[in-house]
């Protein structure tokens, strides 16, 4: 069954993902303009795109454990998914800058004084070098350093989860689930390392 999946997946070219990726934000933007996201479309759009970015990044983080534990091989899509996740997070930031706050003083204030925004910004900034080096040339040039650099994904995604927990009022279930899943996926990395060292 898994083999069948893997065989089928091998036939899908990765460019398909890049073509599909913009559909979701364009659709959300359309919904927001037409009022289908409710009477406060700015925040709805901002939150939905941010959530989408986090979901894609979490899925990207799940690719290695999925191969390890259930044999499902999605490795060839990992780069595309990472880049798409970054793209969604970037759009989330744009909505915040251009539609939500828009007031320069307040934006600067928010980034430095509001911990949840500081953490969100750090997460975004950490992803920039990862996005820039997500190509074969960089892998060749950086050699073993590339693998090390791309471990930043762990921290960036975790901070994304924390950002989500902190933005809501009170302790809400959904952001905690996201962060829990991220932590579980990170734990799979630690435990495999420990096993190896034994």
């Amino acid at each position: 069954m898994i083999n069948l999946c893997n065989r089928g997946l091998r036939k899908i070219p990765t460019w398909v993902l890049y073509v599909i990726a913009p559909v979701a934000p364009i659709w959300l933007f359309y919904l927001a303009v037409t009022g289908a996201l409710g009477v406060e479309p700015i925040q709805a759009l901002e939150h939905k795109i941010g959530e989408l970015g986090l979901q894609v990044l979490i899925f990207t983080l799940a690719i290695t454990p999925m191969r390890k534990y259930i044999g499902l091989n999605l490795l060839k899509f990992r780069r595309a998914l990472g880049l798409i996740g970054f793209f969604y997070v970037f759009l989330h930031l744009l909505v915040w800058l251009l539609l939500d706050v828009r007031i320069l003083d307040q934006i600067i204030d928010d980034i430095f004084k509001r911990p949840f925004i500081t953490i969100g910004m750090i997460s975004f900034v950490l992803m920039i070098p990862l996005a820039i080096t997500s190509n074969n040339l960089s892998i060749r040039k950086l050699g073993p350093k590339w693998r090390k650099l791309h471990k930043l994904t762990y921290l960036a995604t975790f901070l994304g989860g924390v950002h989500y927990v902190m933005v809501v009022k009170g302790w809400q279930i959904e952001p905690m689930i996201y962060t829990g899943v991220i932590l579980a996926l990170l734990l799979t990395r630690i435990s495999t390392k420990k096993l190896r060292s034994k």
């Binding site: 303009v33 307040q106 928010d110 302790w171 279930i173």
Partner: protein
């Protein structure tokens, strides 16, 4: 039952709801995408704002805005949850228990209460602690009328209120997002202030359940969470009540919770707000001290450090 005073318009002088709807559609259509960058990088002054007696002259939000975007955690934490689930709530019969430092404690039937108070229309600004706002044409009566019905003992200093606890009908109460029942409170002078009302309706119609039917508090110079919904209990006391949000996170939410653009929430700025209903390209507007009711209520807090008593 519409009392005419300097604080209210008789209902016949109010703009009918359909009229508001048309105007808003026109404005929204004309605004469009071009407004995005034309609005610049400053919070906008609100040119419409003026207080006529207690009523603002600003354009009220539509009934759809007011009844589809709510914080009422008893029905769930998303803004859409209350509109989706509040229909399960039974609001008739309804009674309010009034106890504590009152002359005539007891269970007051809502129908009896309404026979003894003056319902008026009050068009109030409503500012949520989350930095969004609306203009809402409430129907209701001044809370002081209800408190006087029960008779206030001289030693009373605070008013504590409770929302209904009925998890069978209020699905959000089956989770522990807050300590149920929801509690809010006011200092007695705040509660007796003529701006403080108990709302029973919107746009001349029955109050939608997601807005806190059949009886909710409205304190327009305080953040929205002070305006407790679906009230079943009122206690007069000499101790400052601990309101639900303060109990949950005292660093972020205080007892007073007066709208104040100079005191930021630890997690976001309170200097500006977004008026709901402006669509995807609506700019922020400046938040006003005491939500614009400074001339009416500032003297209640004379000499108090509002940074400390947030």
């Amino acid at each position: 039952m519409h009392k005419t005073s300097k604080f209210s318009l008789p209902h016949s002088q109010c703009t009918p709801e359909a009229h508001y709807l048309n105007r808003r559609a026109l404005i929204a259509g004309a605004a469009g995408a071009g407004a995005l960058f034309a609005s610049g990088t400053q919070a906008q002054e609100n040119p419409d704002f003026q207080i006529n007696g207690f009523n603002t002259t600003e354009e009220p939000n539509t009934l759809k805005d007011i009844s589809s975007y709510n914080n009422f955690y008893e029905f769930g934490t998303s803004k859409e949850d209350p509109a989706r689930y509040a229909h399960n709530l039974t609001t008739d019969p309804w009674s309010v228990e009034i106890d504590g430092l009152v002359e005539r404690p007891g269970s007051y039937d809502l129908g009896d209460i309404l026979k003894n108070v003056n319902i008026e229309e009050r068009i109030y600004r409503f500012r949520c602690v989350e930095a969004w706002s609306m203009v809402i044409p409430w129907n209701g009566f001044e809370l002081n009328q209800l408190l006087n019905l029960a008779g206030i003992q001289p030693s009373a200093k605070y008013v504590r209120m409770e929302t209904l606890f009925r998890p069978e009908e209020m699905r959000g109460q089956r989770t522990r997002v807050l300590d149920w029942p929801y509690v809010e409170g006011l200092r007695l002078d705040e509660a007796m202030h003529p701006l403080t009302i108990m709302a029973t309706g919107l746009y001349g119609k029955e109050l939608p359940k997601q807005n806190g039917a059949p009886l909710r508090l409205v304190v327009p110079w305080k953040y929205g969470f002070k305006s407790i919904k679906s009230i079943v209990k009122i206690t007069l006391t000499d101790e400052q009540p601990i309101n639900s949000w303060q109990a949950t996170n005292a660093r972020e939410y205080g007892f007073y919770s007066n709208v104040n653009p100079n005191v930021n929430h630890p997690r976001w700025s309170q200097a500006s707000e977004r008026r709901i209903g402006g669509g995807l390209f609506a700019p922020r507007i400046k938040t006003l001290m005491f939500n614009g009711y400074e001339e009416h209520v500032a003297d209640l807090y004379a000499g108090m450090d509002l940074r400390k008593y947030y």
